[in-house]
């Protein structure tokens, strides 16, 4: 079955105590595209994704996927938090972490099934980390850690993939691997939502952009969003990225 549902964000506002982090966001995220969420530090990019998934309380608004609230359908979601939020000294191996992608699907009181083992193995091969399955996660490079997290997301066999800053501190090879998998996921009709802040050449890998700074500046096809006016409103006066984006 081809997934055709889209995510609709409707009048979403989020506060941290008395500080407003997001104001009245309205947007639609469609499947089949690699969608980038851009904006300066503190723009509320992480907050937007967490609020969409119901991982934090919202002040107003609702987020739906298909006919229902997205937060009620987390079985269909794979979310990869910012790598810096994770304790990489945790006593676990690469295999253990990717296997976490099968926990919810496996269900309470049950052991991981043989198909789950196969899915984890396939996911590791897809990101090029199969040879590292017994490696403690603390003994990986930043790029390898990010690929392990990508493998965990793949193992969840989700419909909606959300990644928070997956390219921070990763090598060129990893960046290429990750983008090609995003492309495959989009081609398979998945929703792919990627938070990023690097305005370099890699921005051409995104089909659609969501530009944020506390409120929504613009959302839509890349070239439509990347105008001087939008960028100035998001980042302020001095953005030297146009040289990269021909």
């Amino acid at each position: 079955m081809v997934v055709t549902s889209k995510i609709m964000v409707d009048h979403l506002s989020v506060n941290y105590r008395d500080v407003q982090a997001l104001r009245n966001i309205n947007l639609t995220v469609r499947p089949g595209k690699v969608v980038g969420v851009f904006g300066p530090n503190g723009a509320g990019k992480s907050t937007l994704v967490k609020a969409m998934l119901g991982l934090m309380p919202v002040v107003t608004g609702r987020v739906t996927y298909g006919d229902d609230i997205l937060a009620h359908q987390l079985d269909r979601v794979a979310y990869v938090p910012q790598r810096s939020q994770i304790d990489w000294t945790f006593p676990a191996t690469v295999w253990d972490v990717v296997m976490m992608g099968r926990v919810k699907q496996t269900g309470w009181f049950k052991r991981f099934s043989a198909p789950s083992h196969q899915i984890v193995q396939d996911s590791l091969e897809r990101v090029g980390m199969a040879d590292f399955c017994d490696r403690p996660i603390g003994a990986l490079s930043g790029g390898q850690q990010q690929r392990v997290f990508l493998a965990r997301a793949l193992a969840q066999q989700a419909e909606i993939f959300c990644f928070d800053e997956p390219f921070v501190g990763v090598d060129q090879k990893t960046e290429t691997v990750i983008f090609s998998i995003f492309r495959e996921l989009a081609a398979a009709g998945k929703i792919v939502l990627v938070i990023n802040h690097d305005l370099g050449e890699s921005i051409t890998n995104f089909d659609q952009l969501i530009l944020l700074n506390k409120e929504l500046i613009a959302a839509g096809p890349r070239d439509w969003v990347l105008t001087r006016d939008h960028m100035t409103r998001a980042y302020g006066g001095h953005v030297g990225f146009f040289g990269h984006v021909a």
């Binding site: 979601v77 938090p81 304790d87 945790f90 296997m99 976490m100 919810k104 403690p136």
Partner: protein
């Protein structure tokens, strides 16, 4: 030859002599169970950087214990309820005010602890209970009922960890990712708090509430320096915990120490050995470390 034999016999004698006493059999049974569950549950505290929470819960059980004693209820139940209430209050303070979690813990556990000491000091004038036994452990005080209660708690705790292992692993490694996959992380967290409170309560007689933190953290931390996966940390930690609490009991018996400090001295020594000598992370011998003598030089002359 015969000297060897005599020595062996002496060691055996040293080992078996205390076992002829029923109270020592009971204390050892409890010590073994407590060594296992403290290490297993404490591993979660260690990896989640919640050591202070273990301390908070353990200090907070005292008033519940005193009130249960006054009411004639099982003191394990009173202590457990107080431990759970303290975690609820800590969570409440830190989610409903700008106070950080560690400050909330400090406030709540010292308040509970003070109340507990006040209550016990008051009631121990008319009763035959002794505050020190709860603070530092008391091997002589282990009754048949305690052995039964500890066995029930240990069974519950180990069953819960075994059954919820994969969910708790995901939650303790990446709470946000676990929540986003649809796991009820609030319930998992509450379950973990209940396991910690149960474990602390079961450990009162053996180590006492002040030092139980050591038995919660040190075995897991020692194992963590030696093996790379959480279930291995728990298993090796349990072995270390059992060894420590049993040898602590013997020390306590022969040297007439309170059992808690004796156990803690053993487990702390084991940790120090792993810290210095672990093949994986040892300060003196771990991979990529300079030769031991250079390390020592550096320790002695930090400017080097």
């Amino acid at each position: 030859m015969s000297l060897d034999l005599a020595l062996n016999l002496a060691v055996l004698d040293w080992f078996f002599e205390p076992l002829q006493f029923a109270f020592m059999q009971r204390s050892l049974a409890v010590a073994i169970m407590v060594g296992v569950i403290c290490s297993v549950v404490g591993s979660y505290l260690m990896v989640q950087r919640l050591a202070l929470l273990g301390d908070a819960i353990s200090h907070s059980v005292l008033p519940g214990l005193a009130i249960a004693f006054l009411l004639g209820v099982n003191i394990f139940i009173g202590a457990f309820i107080a431990g759970v209430i303290s975690t609820v209050i800590i969570g409440w303070i830190h989610t409903r005010s700008p106070i950080k979690e560690d400050a909330a813990m400090g406030i709540v556990f010292s308040a509970f602890f003070a109340l507990g000491i006040t209550l016990i000091t008051t009631i121990q004038r008319d009763n035959k209970i002794d505050l020190n036994h709860f603070l530092f452990g008391n091997i002589l005080g282990v009754t048949g009922g305690d052995v039964r209660d500890t066995a029930i708690i240990a069974g519950l705790v180990l069953l819960a960890v075994a059954v919820l292992y994969k969910e708790l692993l995901f939650y303790s490694f990446d709470p946000l990712g676990a929540q986003a996959s649809g796991l009820p992380t609030g319930l998992l967290n509450a379950g973990l708090m209940v396991l910690i409170a149960l474990t602390v309560v079961a450990s009162m007689k053996v180590v006492g509430v002040i030092l139980v933190l050591s038995l919660l953290i040190a075995p897991g931390a020692t194992a963590y320096l030696l093996v790379p996966r959480l279930h291995q940390v728990m298993l090796l930690g349990a072995a270390i915990g059992v060894f420590s609490s049993v040898s602590g009991m013997y020390l306590s018996y022969y040297v007439n120490l309170p059992s808690g400090p004796a156990i803690v001295m053993v487990v702390s020594t084991l940790f120090a050995l792993a810290f210095l000598l672990s093949p994986r992370h040892g300060v003196l011998v771990g991979p990529g470390r300079a030769r031991p003598w250079r390390q020592l030089q550096r320790l002695l002359r930090p400017g080097l």
